[in-house]
Symmetry: C2
Subunit: 285 residues, 2 copies
């Protein structure tokens, strides 16, 4: 083995070590085709898991619009690096199919039965953060409320100043978590596959003085389909790491208290929930 | 004006409103060609501002390697969505030009003259955060130390387990801030232009069960040049928002205490430094 090869195997490996063999195997759950969306982009496939438990009305409206074909061949017309990729129907005749405005589903009340996998206390934006089935949430025990978080890769409904004005235009977060939008918007799902293709969507906003991007350069959605409406053999079959398991707890503990030799001094024993991975894999069926 | 057009102008505009006309104009500084790098990728140009004030030895070595052409036609061979894009010379004969290992420049000592633009106290990872000339830093007043932060778009040297083992391989952060790496790595610059092209670099790591990405699919750097070595009329002339001004302070205050009608209830009055923009524009010369 020559020196360079040795160097390449040693350089900067903590990301891999987080899943080293002394850890228990993740526990997986199947992604429900009834609650997942295949979004085909010109440059790759994206799969979104919907969140009917948290935002049932937004999920229902999205399912209806998807089945009407409202998003097919429609552009991502507002794409700002480090912020959001926003898309929606530009054709008013199509858009009229989606005139029902939605009441905000930005947070919900919790009761004594509320349980989740806790991640961190006092992360600036929430008294407590945690996961439920891979969805990142904030929780305020004093006010008995919880809400989904604007971590990268969530999908939420755009709206006007009226909190209850969302209809069909959506955004996917593509930068550092825009947590100041938490509780103010209706998050209704998250990208579980193909996030790299969302990151590669043509930006529409340029810096001052740079060449503008013309509308005909905007990336258009090839199609959006409910996974359950796609023939079985054309689906992407995915499994998601189950965040409600002892294996995931152990993963969290080791991530919080890193002991790999690479960490010659320990980082603060805290976890940014938006930087904690929940893995996806292709189902082996 | 039809209803749809009105809707499109109203939907989700707070990002724009942050720079509305009632705010003072930003103050700009010119990017120093002696301390900036043009990295040409097959799909677009990226400009990196180096940080000689904070990591002088890493900056010097990078300048030397860039001028030797060490990075030209070399791949981003370790690209993990939501984490880093890592590149460096694969050809050992070239790499030998860069065998000098560098002592970690992960943090530095501060004295009573240390000043910066404060952003936030107690953000989990640092007692205080702030900016110096657009570079995000953490500060520990008790221990009199400061360090650059792993916000998205910083460039840092890869290394082995030995903290002083970095040579020439570097990574650019592409996901949610990997703040657990703060102080453990040598950050020596940040992307100030073309970050969308970094986000679009071909990922090299796929999820379990997915089709592997072959090495010949890895994106190669076309060239890396010191901006000052490029003929004047071929340079990208940039200006960076000056973070040490009253105008920037006012921008921060309004971002912390959002009053736009869109925010029907106020977000917590805190700022995640990695989500606070420092603008770049094309110089008008």
């Amino acid at each position: 083995m020559n020196r360079l090869f040795l160097l390449l195997t040693l350089i900067f490996i903590p990301h891999c070590q987080a899943f080293a063999s002394d850890q228990p195997e993740p526990v997986w759950r199947s992604l429900d085709p009834q609650n997942s969306v295949l979004m085909q982009l010109p440059h790759g496939d994206v799969v979104i898991e919907l969140a009917p438990t948290f935002s049932p009305n937004h999920v229902n409206q999205m399912k209806e619009l998807i089945r009407l074909g409202v998003y097919d061949n429609q552009p991502f017309y507002r794409v700002i690096d480090g912020f959001v990729a926003q898309g929606g129907p530009q054709d008013e005749s199509t858009h009229k199919k989606a005139t029902e405005t939605l009441t905000l589903e930005g947070e919900w009340s919790t009761d004594s039965t509320f349980t989740f996998t806790p991640i961190q206390e006092n992360d600036m934006f929430a008294p407590v953060t945690g996961f439920i089935k891979g969805f990142a949430l904030g929780h305020d025990p004093a006010n008995k409320t919880a809400w989904l978080l604007h971590c990268p890769g969530v999908i939420a409904m755009a709206r006007g100043n009226d909190p209850d004005s969302g209809t069909s235009h959506f955004y996917i977060t593509i930068g550092q978590a825009t947590r100041y939008l938490d509780r103010l918007m209706s998050i209704f799902g998250r990208v579980v596959y193909g996030m790299e293709h969302v990151h590669a969507i043509q930006r529409t906003q340029v810096i001052e003085g740079d060449t503008p991007v013309e509308p005909d350069e905007h990336i258009r959605i090839v199609s959006m389909r409910m996974m359950s409406d796609i023939p079985e053999d054309e689906r992407i079959h995915l499994e998601i790491e189950d965040t409600e398991t002892a294996a995931y707890q152990q993963f969290l503990t080791e991530r919080r208290h890193r002991t790999a030799p690479f960490f010659f001094k320990p980082p603060p024993p805290v976890l940014d929930i938006c930087q904690v991975p929940v893995k996806t894999r292709i189902a082996n069926d």
